[in-house]
Symmetry: D2
Amino acid sequence: MIREHTIELRVRYDETDPMGLVHHSNYLRYFEIGRTELLRAAGGRYRDMEAAGLLVVVVRVDCRYKAPARYDEMITVTTQITKVTAAKIIHHYVIRRDGQVLVEADVTLAVIDREGRLQRVPEALIEAYQS
Amino acid sequence: MIREHTIELRVRYDETDPMGLVHHSNYLRYFEIGRTELLRAAGGRYRDMEAAGLLVVVVRVDCRYKAPARYDEMITVTTQITKVTAAKIIHHYVIRRDGQVLVEADVTLAVIDREGRLQRVPEALIEAYQS
Amino acid sequence: MIREHTIELRVRYDETDPMGLVHHSNYLRYFEIGRTELLRAAGGRYRDMEAAGLLVVVVRVDCRYKAPARYDEMITVTTQITKVTAAKIIHHYVIRRDGQVLVEADVTLAVIDREGRLQRVPEALIEAYQS
Amino acid sequence: MIREHTIELRVRYDETDPMGLVHHSNYLRYFEIGRTELLRAAGGRYRDMEAAGLLVVVVRVDCRYKAPARYDEMITVTTQITKVTAAKIIHHYVIRRDGQVLVEADVTLAVIDREGRLQRVPEALIEAYQS
């Protein structure tokens, strides 16, 4: 049972802004990498879902920024599954540098089809997370 | 007294993802454009603040995604000042397409100096918003 | 006959880097906006082509950077059609600020289908540019 | 003497476009990662140069796109030093997937100071590449 996963990333130059800090929007991209790798570690792949016509969309982001990351720094993204139901998937994220918490967030996902209609979270995905 | 401002944007190709939808992180960039233009309409400019050594940073984002925008669509970003104190600035954002609400968010800003120390929100900025 | 088009853009915060300059990759995104608007001015839309299963892809970029644009500056993107054949479309771009040339580029496009096979440039597109 | 370096990257979701392909502008970002890692392998760091007031800017990109990379694919970026003089640094890049060449490019860099004036490429950098 894999419910938590941590990856290490190096901050890229194009991800930082004139303040020399990671642009706040880019942390959402780090979260996306985090949940992709958590799912991969659990034996699944988002691209297989899309190929099957199921689209995973973000319906809510609640993100608290405590301290900034800078260009070329190594950071870790820890992704944790908080809740998986037929209606939604909630992950909790913590981004750290040398153990210091920089950013914390909760992101809620839902599943839609190509016409934008809400779908049940596939059993395979619920199982991948819960098995 | 300007406390609300609406701008119109056309969704760019590079802002959309393989689902054909605006990547969820890009709405945070639209919000940033919204508050920049609200401040400009109020007679201020963020770049003058940075030149003065004051950095405006995002400390919290709470964003609810209701429906997606797609490539080449025209959307509006309405930025509203919710609260301005010496410690923080809170804006409320609503993104719409043809009147339909797509995304709603509250974003909290704070002011720091180049060493990352928290600073008071400058009086000029408080006045620009409240005058 | 529309063979040249100029649009005005304001440089966004997230498009600039720690040097305070527009990240060099973002000019390619400005060019894309330029050719989209040129095509629109000529009565066409890229999104209609994609809906028809035709994908316009970039096969070559030759870009010369002469001077940088900075956050919040107004720039113009002038897009010119250099050549349209059944095999490719070449545009020439000039980005200026207050008349000064900042960036110049030539970008070659080709048309493929969803399987990645090279297709003829559609007659409608050739006509849109040449009519 | 390190004159060539290869890194492996996984294509991120936000780097791909509605065609499901990596947006052509993002390869320039992959090249930047490639040259950063080549320099690191040679014992240097771009961020030390910036801290010393020297800015490395791109003055020319000539990029040929042969086949697209897609979401979640593993690609390699091979960076090679073609030429280092007091006036410029030229790198050659090849991006591959499973050995197949996807993109090839030549990128020319120059060094400026904070006022935008052209500077000599620092001896330390020339040596890092040539030693």
